[in-house]
Symmetry: C2
Subunit: 137 residues, 2 copies
């Protein structure tokens, strides 16, 4: 089987330019909407407001070849896999956030870090929790 | 850009049959090795033993069309996005585990839940932590 992705929807955020995107998710950030395509809406049944979900999404227009790059402090080159940068061999973003609301295939969460229109790859019930002590992007 | 994945390595686990795989990761499970392809080994620089990483991997031979399926208790059909099942539109597995050792492109962790030979997609420094109170696969 070829490893190709299908987009299950898109993400609406307030950010239309890369420079506007925060470095990481922010549990107290603005509302964002996961807009699930019609054919996948049944897949949301069983999810509830307040429940934490792991959201996977696809960063476009990234450098997929950089094995080392600057960290935020810019002082040294660090391995891509030691950073949360979107520039990586497989530019998949991951965030764990609680569901604010679910309404007809639209799941609202707070504080995603991606551009509006970002392709949505997956939603899973979280067995992972945000460690707010770290910011490693 | 087409959303295609490139495998950055593979995962060695003790499991050669689906029925042997645990339902979820187990922080106290057996040692597993993330074997990173030569061309990506530089990407590991900066990662340290003891550091928690988010590991993304690719489940093969799954049903990518099921929007509802049985949960472990098997009592009712639940939406795919409310389950951790590998049967989903984009069969990407996610686990957060601490690094045991790193040696020449081989990152050892404990307790992954996938078959040996599973394709490795990404390693990120974790800003996510396992919530051991949940088992939702």
């Amino acid at each position: 089987m070829k490893a190709t992705l299908q987009f299950i929807g898109h993400i609406d955020t307030p950010y239309t330019a890369i420079e506007d995107c925060p470095n990481n998710v922010d549990l107290n950030g603005p509302l964002c909407q996961l807009v699930v395509h019609e054919e996948f809406i049944n897949g949301l049944s069983g999810l509830l407001p307040g429940q934490k979900i792991l959201i996977l999404y696809w960063f476009e227009n990234t450098d997929r070849n950089a094995t080392k790059q600057e960290s935020n402090n810019g002082e040294e080159l660090i391995g891509t896999f030691a950073l949360r940068s979107p520039h990586r061999p497989n530019p998949i973003g991951a965030a764990v956030l609680p569901i604010e609301t679910i309404d007809h295939g639209v799941v609202s969460v707070k504080g995603l870090d991606c551009l509006t229109g970002t392709h949505l790859l997956d939603i899973k019930p979280a067995i992972l929790q945000e460690d707010s002590n770290k910011n490693t992007k």
